[in-house]
Symmetry: C2
């Protein structure tokens, strides 16, 4: 369900000495070449057309049929496969109403909330039921109130509204999609006292402003609607009723009312054709320039002078989620699992999201099955997982991983995730100590458009974006990093938005997320009825050329992880990344301290009032809390130890890795395979104990976007000084545990 | 004719020690209080209504009538006044055509090129002739070609177009108003091989995106057209046929064909209602995000597939320009002139631009006349000038100043300019060594909306803008400067766009430019038929409250300059400003050197090609020229000398200024009054010898926007390394001459 295949922020490690690694990596072998020879873009195309033929959201007939079809394929290709079904809370819409009664001579208006079929497109030929305008886990309700426009509906937008003298208390807000994650918009609206929330897709963000609209071009047509989940993922993903445990038939469940991740107010996504009618009725001040969309109107904050009636009613029963799990047993280390996953449920047809990734993964499974039939015996067990129910909030992967948590923490070596796939540049996210492993794989795969390695092409893209006139400081830093030939291609820290979350952030399993994008454009039909086979093959990845490239990329990762002689991790790159994160966090504290001091002077001088137009309602910004000097000593010390342990590990591995006895080798593999779990802290993050990883989490106020060292970073961002100090200690402890594990490995290697 | 009353960039002096100055400044006296008591917003309102009742462009009956009416007022109020008439080239439109023939089933379209009258507005009641869609000094012509959209039509836009594989050779370009000065758009189009140029006002920049459109709100309605001059002001302003000399009846004249400031291709300004029809027909790639306007279309670069027919024909005879010049003779120093000017010609009705400033100046003249009648005898001669023909390119002021150049360089102590006036914050531009003089005046005037001084309010505004999320580095630096209580309010370096240009940049006369703005909004009707009395009094400055404030501000400057006991200049602030400019220029060289080196690596690595989508036409950027290390030694030395001479002057003035004999005082005043002329260099700037001031000039590629130390700064920006080195020497020489003048003054004071 991730909304952007191409990532814009790279937060990754530095200065990994490439000469020290590669001991684990088999030379490019005939095995990968034989694997590649099995892959077929035309077959992926046929499969996509079949899987995307009818609406396939959770609980739909075609979703269940797809699960059975996938199961049959895995079996046909020699895998030990089964379906594992969970019972999850998944509300389905009964009715939605959005209207404006006639007032002061202005006529009544009823929103269409419909996506008209487009001739020549699957949207016109499907026979099955398609979900209407809808966001999952909104609060149901029937409210009537004036409207306020809140831009992207993020916390900063509410601060700006307050300065404009506008309150959303008792109002319905209308927010545009973009900037932060969808679910934050109604959540923040609710926290600020709004009684309902509309979310629309502004043409500035993925409509006609960007390119022609579907079917003439790839972008969102006027009636297009972005569905999605608004469950509060920042607390925990998965079934809202079973946090931390599998949603098996007899699991202990919360109720809808007691689940903290379900909204209390109704919310509805709408098209820009509908939104324009409502926005045009708003009075009040024109909004700041950065708040303007591309509709041909004067954007104003409101509140509107007319009442809006919003009513949403859903059916809240449990529904089945069918994960398809397939295994190829390992010959040497059967209890070491290399796991690969991609979901198959969509919001409507889901051709780009997720089926482009699903069919790529399926092609890998066929090729691996073929290699096995030809006699290849992977050292480790390979697990392929076609996840159901990712769209509502990573339900299929989360419930499976929670159900099998103990086994996974014991056996999992690596989880490789993908989701919707596009054309263009490799995006790489995951555990920082896998940077070299993933980077070397990317160095050996050739981009079909340019005939250089996909790593080289990704680097070029990062460099060019980082030197664009309006490049952010983050983009500039990433460009510098990508330009350094001594380093592997950058790897991004992961937030959320796809099925890796539970593996990485709850269980501490080494994780990679891969996908191509940046050319073509699936964003314009994202989560709409127009994310169809026709759209994907015309505008996103014609011929599924990059579908095959994704199969190669993930497949090589899986093959090399399954057969590796030595651990995949290169702790230097982790240490370098932590060093960078710590520097950022210190700068954050300094910047916020300076900003608070400077703002205090401005407030004392009454500068905000003096600079305001007295004919418009205005207020000075809320006073920033003065920021203390934090003692980062424990983190500095932990980082020093980490760097030294990582260096010692590299040296010991270089010296003795190749000549280890098979007993010691197994011991080393066991030690290093679960090293990511040393970064978990049982009490988790403040207020959200499901997230136990001290290095990365989805941001409380960004959603999908990652926050690194979140315990301290978010505490500083959110003025929680005691938490900042507490998590400096907790993170330092986690890093020390990682270092201690390295020290054990060094002792083993040198012993 | 300046396009933005509020300036966004402050380039001014630092660290003037306020304790040293003020010797020249009379304490707030009953004189200023008596002056203020004469001012009348209601009278200004009556005068504006009268002057703006009919179209009043150069050569129109109402323009001539206004000159006579102004003359009568000056005389009535006791001034020695006359009209001085020049014969200037001023083309007036005969016919304009803009159309698209029918093609491939698409219907023909003929642009309206009309501004429909608005009921209840002067635009509907005027009887006189109003100029149609028109820009002065375009090239006339009749061309048919496809269209290319070039964004703002600046040099960077052409570079971007080249990277998109789009050429404008043989095409008609359509550029939007904004970013750079109007006249650069057709000039650059012509240089890039275009055969015609359309300029339109995008609603993103001054239309519905910003606020409601007139008459509901202040902004530009769909049919609104921005007229203006496109004479190449960057070479010289004034009559295109008489550069450097007054356009008197028998002056030696260039021909239209030999004048370098007149375009060779036809150009036409159009409304966004018309522009949308043409823009919608363009094919090709969608433009970069920063190029998008607010029309509800996909902006594409083109070239269009349909031909566009553009024809413009003008009448090119000489027309009269009537300056109204009024004098109050000085009692003590009759040959020291304090000059005040504002133009009175508009593009149509010209209520905001320029009559809001003209009526404020008129109110000053009445009040000064009244004070004189009551017995006040200003020490110096006061000259009030109501300029005609500013709009076509500063003709009235330039021809007068060129005609009287020798006398002015001998007599002028100060020129105080204003133009259209708005509501809000004081904007102050001019000679850097007048910062303290102007700042102290601004400290003593109370803002009517906030009851603090206008200086305090301007500082608050600069500070708040500098801390906004998207503030530019320049805005941040200005905010820091404005926050320093030891310094006077910032003063901006002046580029062009109003009548100060010849005084400051050609003659080296001490200059100030003052005006209020930032609240209300006149930009939306700028140079259109809707810049009317009704619009100004509803949306820009209701009640002309700030009109009266402008009278106070300029009036106090004039009174204090006329009666000052000691020189107005404080050379410290000039030295501090030069120090800042030099730092900027060095940083510019370093930044460009780094950018060229980094780009060279990117090109060597083929990064641009690898990052490009091969399905779209693209090209790498043109290679940047490698930047040498310049020897700034001469400038460093000149700055050191300047700082030391300025300090010595301040000390000497503090010690002896108050006790000078009247003979010495007069000698000192004479030395310091013309010190700005030491900054002139006779050979002027490269390729434009009319601009002789080494400290500031309108930018070759910004137009109105100032470039400081332009000889070296623009040479670095434009890869002219030899010029850079040459002007390092020339500027150093000018600074040394300024220092030498200071040293003379010091010797006089200490002698």
């Amino acid at each position: 369900m991730r909304s952007s295949i191409r990532r814009s922020v790279f937060l990754a490690g530095l200065l990994f000495p490439a000469c020290l690694a590669a001991a684990w990596a088999p030379a490019p072998s005939s095995l990968e070449q034989r694997f590649d020879a099995q892959l077929s873009s035309p077959d992926q195309t046929v499969w996509m057309k079949l899987l995307a033929a009818e609406p396939n959201q959770v609980g739909s007939p075609h979703d269940a049929a797809n699960a059975e079809w996938l199961l049959a394929r895995y079996k046909e290709w020699g895998w030990d496969a089964h379906i594992e079904t969970f019972q999850v809370l998944y509300p389905t819409p009964i009715s939605e109403t959005l209207e404006m009664p006639a007032a002061n001579g202005a006529p009544a208006f009823t929103a269409t909330l419909q996506e008209a079929p487009i001739p020549g497109d699957s949207s016109a030929t499907a026979r099955d039921y398609a979900l209407p305008a809808y966001v999952a886990y909104q609060g149901d309700g029937d409210v009537t109130a004036p409207l306020v426009y809140v831009n992207y509906g993020m916390e900063d937008d509410y601060k700006r509204l307050a300065q404009m003298g506008v309150s959303v208390k008792g109002k319905i807000v209308i927010a545009r999609y973009g900037k932060g994650w969808r679910g934050l918009k109604p959540k923040l609206a609710q926290e600020h006292g709004a009684v309902g929330c509309l979310i629309y897709s502004d043409p500035a963000d993925d409509g006609y402003a960007v390119d022609g609209v579907y079917p003439a071009g790839p972008m969102r047509p006027p009636q297009g609607i972005q569905r999605g989940s608004v469950a509060d993922m920042t607390l925990y993903p998965g079934d809202p009723l079973t946090p931390g445990v599998g949603a098996t038939r007899n699991a202990k469940r919360l109720t809808r009312e007691t689940s903290p991740v379900i909204l209390k107010i109704p919310a509805l996504p709408i098209s820009y054709a509908d939104a324009q009618v409502f926005l045009e009725t708003l009075g009040g001040q024109p909004v700041p320039a950065a708040w303007r969309g591309a509709l041909p109107i004067t954007y104003r904050a409101g509140p509107g002078t007319r009442n809006v009636h919003l009513a949403v009613k859903s059916e809240w029963s449990l529904k089945p989620a069918h994960d398809v799990i397939a295994m190829l047993k390992g010959s040497q280390y059967p209890d070491q699992w290399v796991i690969r996953g991609n979901h198959f449920d969509g919001w409507v047809f889901g051709a780009s999201d997720p089926l482009s990734g699903q069919v790529a993964m399926l092609d890998e499974a066929r090729a691996l099955g073929m290699l096995a039939k030809q006699g290849w015996k992977p050292k480790r067990t390979i697990v392929y997982a076609s996840w159901d129910a990712e769209e509502p909030m990573l339900l299929g992967s989360t419930e499976w991983a929670e159900t099998h948590a103990a086994e996974l923490q014991k056996k999992a070596v690596l989880y490789v995730n993908s989701d919707g796939n596009g054309r263009g540049f490799l995006g790489l996210g995951g555990s920082e100590d896998l940077r070299h492993f993933a980077g070397q794989v990317a160095n050996a795969i050739t981009d079909p458009e340019t005939n250089v390695s996909v790593a080289a092409r990704a680097r070029a893209d990062i460099r060019v974006r980082g030197t664009a006139p309006a490049a952010s400081p983050e983009a500039k830093a990433a460009a510098e990093e990508a330009a350094d030939p001594r380093q592997d291609m950058p790897i991004e820290a992961l937030g959320s938005g796809s099925d890796y979350s539970t593996f990485l952030q709850h269980l501490g399993i080494a994780t990679l997320d891969v996908g191509y994008g940046g050319e073509g454009n699936s964003g314009g039909v994202y989560h709409s009825r127009y994310d169809t086979f026709e759209h994907h093959t015309r505008f996103v990845d014609p011929g599924l050329v990059y579908g095959k490239l994704l199969s190669q990329t993930a497949g090589h990762l899986i093959i090399q992880a399954a057969d590796a002689e030595l651990p995949l991790n290169t702790p230097d790159s982790f240490a370098a990344a932590v060093g960078k994160y710590l520097k950022e966090v210190k700068k954050l504290a300094d910047d916020r301290r300076t900003a608070a001091e400077s703002q205090a002077k401005m407030l004392a001088d009454n500068a905000y009032d003096l600079a305001a137009d007295p004919t418009k309602s205005h207020a000075p910004p809320e006073a920033l809390k003065q920021v203390p000097k934090f003692d980062f000593g424990p983190l500095d010390a932990a980082l020093t130890r980490l760097n030294s342990s990582a260096t010692a590990y590299d040296m010991a591995l270089s010296a003795h890795g190749a000549s280890l006895s098979s007993g010691k080798r197994k011991q080393l593999l066991t030690l290093m395979q679960s090293i990511g779990q040393t970064l978990l802290v049982d009490q988790g993050l403040p207020g959200r104990d499901w997230y136990k990883n001290m290095i990365t989490a989805p941001g409380m106020f960004t959603g999908y976007g990652a926050k690194t060292l979140p315990g301290v970073r978010e505490a500083i961002e959110e003025d929680r000084w005691d938490d900042a100090t507490r998590y400096i200690g907790l993170i330092a402890g986690a890093l020390d545990a990682y270092s201690a594990r390295l020290d054990q490995a060094v002792a083993l290697l040198n012993g």
